[in-house]
Symmetry: C2
Subunit: 322 residues, 2 copies
Amino acid sequence: MLGLLLDFPKQCQAAKAIADNARILFENRKFDKIVFAGLGGSAIGGDLVKSYVFSECRIPISVIREYVLPAYVDASTLVFLASYSGNTEETLSAYRDAKEKGATLIAISSDGALKELANTDKVTFIEVPKGLPPRCALGNLSIIPLCVLAKLGLIKDVGPSINQTARILEELKERNLNPGIGEKDNIAKSVALRLFNKFAVIYSASVHFDVCATRFRGQIAENSKALGSSHLFPEMNHNEIVGWQNPKKLLKNLAVVMLRDDLMHPRVALRMDITRDIIKKEGVNIIEIWSRGDSLLSRIFSLIYIGDFVSYYLAILYAIDP
Amino acid sequence: MLGLLLDFPKQCQAAKAIADNARILFENRKFDKIVFAGLGGSAIGGDLVKSYVFSECRIPISVIREYVLPAYVDASTLVFLASYSGNTEETLSAYRDAKEKGATLIAISSDGALKELANTDKVTFIEVPKGLPPRCALGNLSIIPLCVLAKLGLIKDVGPSINQTARILEELKERNLNPGIGEKDNIAKSVALRLFNKFAVIYSASVHFDVCATRFRGQIAENSKALGSSHLFPEMNHNEIVGWQNPKKLLKNLAVVMLRDDLMHPRVALRMDITRDIIKKEGVNIIEIWSRGDSLLSRIFSLIYIGDFVSYYLAILYAIDP
């Protein structure tokens, strides 16, 4: 796991090369809907794409983690089917559903039945390198579809952002995440220590950074074998904030992680500040993690990368092999 | 709160009458996207609509809880703007964004700035009865948009389902929820007792019943002033299930609520059975709640109605005025 984490910035750049070389087997089709079908580690790439394109893509995109697709999937829908293993039963079922509905399909996997189906059906297929746990393939499973959307002219070129992101992640790793860095300067080690033996409550913002909260919670479950919950601003201020009263005896066993970014909506930033102070009064440990870099892509990925390392160190604290 | 809960089945029927009498100020427009903008108690109606139409509506629908709308909102988008008070700052901001993007707007509120804006702009406006906390207006805020979609020909007539749902909820209330019913037959009282002093973890399925999990968690926060988390099947099996190992000393302070329905995908039902047994082995209290009625609408609403009563009784156990 550690080796894969350390290699992650390289994976992001390699993913761009895979996308550049991919053969898209359809041309000049017009789409008015994009659906990303997958589960777990193979779905989170879709979440990242959706978060990234919020303010840019003129076509709605949904991530569906299910056996069946919504009724609106039709001949003018582009459906990404991502299953790292190629054998996820829900995704294979969604593949059949998408095909039946006449959608244009792009299958992404390292192998398995999905690869076979795509080849038999002459469906666009993008093969990603084998041998990773699916959750470690996020670079491939997010950057490849982003590059495909750019190739199709649905979003701007992401190439420069990918290079910048890889550079920012390398720097972040060397300075603040690497096991060689002591607890004082190691963000991930210090956050993991504060989450140890606590139930993690992850908060972020619903525009662009919702994927970071989903990923953090998922990685804590998958790597650290620990439970957590997540919620988003500003919605959280309209319900969960008033829940911070009960069960009284449990509140001190929770720890809050706020995933923050300088460019969040100013009212969202203010809401996060106020909420932090309210929860602090209940004696709850609050950890704020800030994004890095200039591009939106590096800001999303830096929060994810820090969270991935946190889940790794937390696993070690729980004496678990991540 | 109790009076409002008891009146809820009537509100659902009254909502249908409000929708029947509503004047839609646009005709024969074609939409290819639907967006529901709102926050908290005014957004959950959009979640319900989205869950209900999953297998029926040929147009994608999103629920956006934010100051800004996604880039894909344009002149062929129908945007519902729901703010029960009419003064929710995010929704007013989303209104301006939707207008700027040239979308067709339907505003729903009981009063406030949203009503004024809609009247000034000659935007379709549907007024709902005043005087409720927003979370108690779910009948209005879900059934009215559903009826509007049916009027526009985007989904089938929901009238018969609404009548049947109101009947099912009345029966459920009389037999299993009413304060006059003792703990033995009162589902909501017995669930509340099992959730008391526990952190609630709510699970449901992502097709049709995701709204029930969101609502349950939100009502526990808003009515019972207590924290919980939620997750959905089958996705939960791809991450959270392995998290049920840590923090060890906290596991027994959690209680799981599974919101179930006989017509869920058979593989989802099987996954829920297996997961229940895995979690039980950790010594965790598991509560299963089953939906009622024949129609999809009554099945969704019955789970919500039981959860609403649970949050009410749980508030009383916490000595809080819901």
